[in-house]
């Protein structure tokens, strides 16, 4: 049974705005990245899975349960982290997370115990007894993750989990997401417009654009090596490209970087020698990989 299934899922707001346009997909458990530009339909898709929004047409199911008819059963096993603020400022994290645990059907004692565990898991300690209103953005994001985890969901839906975080906060949140997904095996959907984040934590990628599925594949297939060598030098990229072309290599300049086709080992020595002979300063030598950005760039003109 697929974790998430959507068949010709369409959502229109009014007559003119189409958020989802015949989305059909089939997702197996894992850490799934849901990428797309702002307004591509990521949040709409997540809200339909939760039953927060009804689809205009088409159908979707989560763990085999229909989203429009079996909402409460689905939501009992789903944790949701919304992209917007959703915390009451006057309650403490402990009171709030435990309340949300009970809202998912946990008995009172279990809710209390799991609240303590889950707040420790997300890294909230003494501050958990203070009202949430006084928390930093990073702490609030942790509380949001904790309330999504408190009832041990089978599926986590995280909508822009790093929203508003500084770089170190982002790293910590992504590490938490990855750890939760891999160590504890909770199927996770991470919606983000930041491809770099998706690349770091996800195993599978769903790319949507204008409410349509652009591509669904394991993340590795997006980022595999391309057989292109990138050589970044301080100055003299043009000279280097000319020298390599003279040796019969396919070399082209892109800013300070010379891109060299490297179907085999031969170009490595040539590049090394050419840099040495031209006395250039080498900054970086790397295998070029497919970038997730290319996906959208290539499809954009359509």
């Amino acid at each position: 049974m697929p974790l998430i299934e959507a068949k010709a899922l369409t959502k229109r707001y009014g007559a003119h705005v189409t958020a989802l346009d015949g989305l059909t997909l089939d997702v197996e458990p894992g850490i799934i990245g849901l990428v797309g530009a702002n307004g591509a339909g990521k949040s709409t898709f997540i809200k339909i899975l939760l039953g927060l929004l009804g689809p205009t047409s088409g159908a979707a199911s989560v763990m085999g349960l229909d989203v429009t008819r079996q909402g409460p059963q689905i939501r009992q096993f789903v944790g949701y982290l919304p992209e917007h603020d959703c915390l009451p400022p006057d309650l403490s994290a402990t009171d709030f997370v435990s309340h949300m645990g009970r809202m998912s059907g946990l008995p009172a004692t279990a809710a209390r115990e799991r609240t303590a565990e889950v707040l420790r898991h997300v890294g909230l300690y003494e501050e958990r007894y203070r009202p949430i209103g006084g928390y930093s953005t990073g702490m609030k994001q942790r509380v949001k993750l904790a309330q999504a985890l408190v009832h041990d969901p089978k599926l986590l839906l995280l909508d822009e989990p790093t929203n508003g975080l500084d770089p170190s906060g982002r790293d910590e949140m992504l590490a938490l997401v990855k750890r939760t997904g891999t160590e504890f095996g909770i199927a996770t959907v991470v919606a983000s417009h930041l491809l770099g984040e998706i690349e770091r934590v996800c195993t599978f990628l769903l790319a949507i654009d204008n409410g349509k599925l652009l591509r669904a594949a394991p993340i590795a297939s997006f980022t595999e090596r391309t057989g292109t060598l990138g050589v970044e030098v301080e100055d003299g990229a043009d000279a280097l490209a000319a020298r390599l072309s003279a040796h019969g290599l396919d070399a082209r300049v892109e800013g300070r970087t010379v891109l060299v086709d490297a179907p085999d080992e031969r170009p490595y020595d040539l590049v090394r020698d050419a840099i040495d002979e031209l006395a250039l300063s080498l900054v970086r030598l790397e295998h070029r990989r497919h970038r997730l950005e290319d996906l959208f760039r290539a499809e954009a003109p359509q």
Binding site: P72, Q76, V78, P88, M103, E117, R120, D152, F184
Partner: protein, 303 residues
Amino acid sequence: MTQPEGAAGTRESATGAIYDLGYQRYDGPRLGRRAAVATLFWASLRAAYALKRSGRAKIVPWGLAALLMAPAGVSVAVAALVPGAPQPFTYDDYLWNTQILLAIFVAAQAPELVSSDQRNRVLSLYFSHALERSDYALAKLGALAAAIFGLTLAPMLVLFIGRVLLAADVVDAFGNELEHLPKVILTPLIYAIPLAALSLAIAAYTPRRAYATGAIIAVFIVTAAIGGILGEAITTGPLGDLSQLLNPMVPIDGTRNWLVGESIPDSPVSETGFPLYLFGLEWLAIALIGTAVVLWRYRRVAA
């Protein structure tokens, strides 16, 4: 050789051993939708009384509760000190005479139950848990009605207990007062249901607490004022009488009069002279329309 071990042990006991239990799976029971609704009901009831809230949040509900109890307490005290003194309040007119306190209570606490969930967008979390939108609406409505019921039942019980305990023959008095017990319990219920439906129907429409409070207060004070002015200006005639029906407290009192009690002298209900079931119909209309409006609002509100 043993020293490092001992030192480590000391350090451990000095700071308390910390074990990373981390995240654990949960295999216990999941109680589902019914438990979620019950949780929301009890949490909202606690919020209505500001239990487990800051002292500042307690001022309004606790202050109003104290003010509402005071006449009953005084009444009992007078009866204890001056046996045979006339009772200043009856079960029939107690809540009618303290109605302004009830209006302030719902104006302050109905928004407390629903406005902040909308303002802080906690609503989208509730709706993504194991309950339906209508469950949320009904749990909040039930909690507010229960809060008003508890608040109004308390002084009625004080009157009741006072009358029993201060009588010469307690057992005999208990027997006599027992026939009033349905009135003691049903009168608060007759107040609680439409007050909850009406005030929540207003409060559910705005995330701004102050607006909701102002609107609810306005409904009670403005309608009472209109009824008063028109009643004075058009002393007789159907228009003056009909204007009395604008104030929601009037059909509440009329229904109480119809179902469980005596009429209050000089009250709008006794002055209009309408058949009492008419007030009962208006009472029912307020309760049903208020509930429908709340349900409709939560079907539509974005989460």
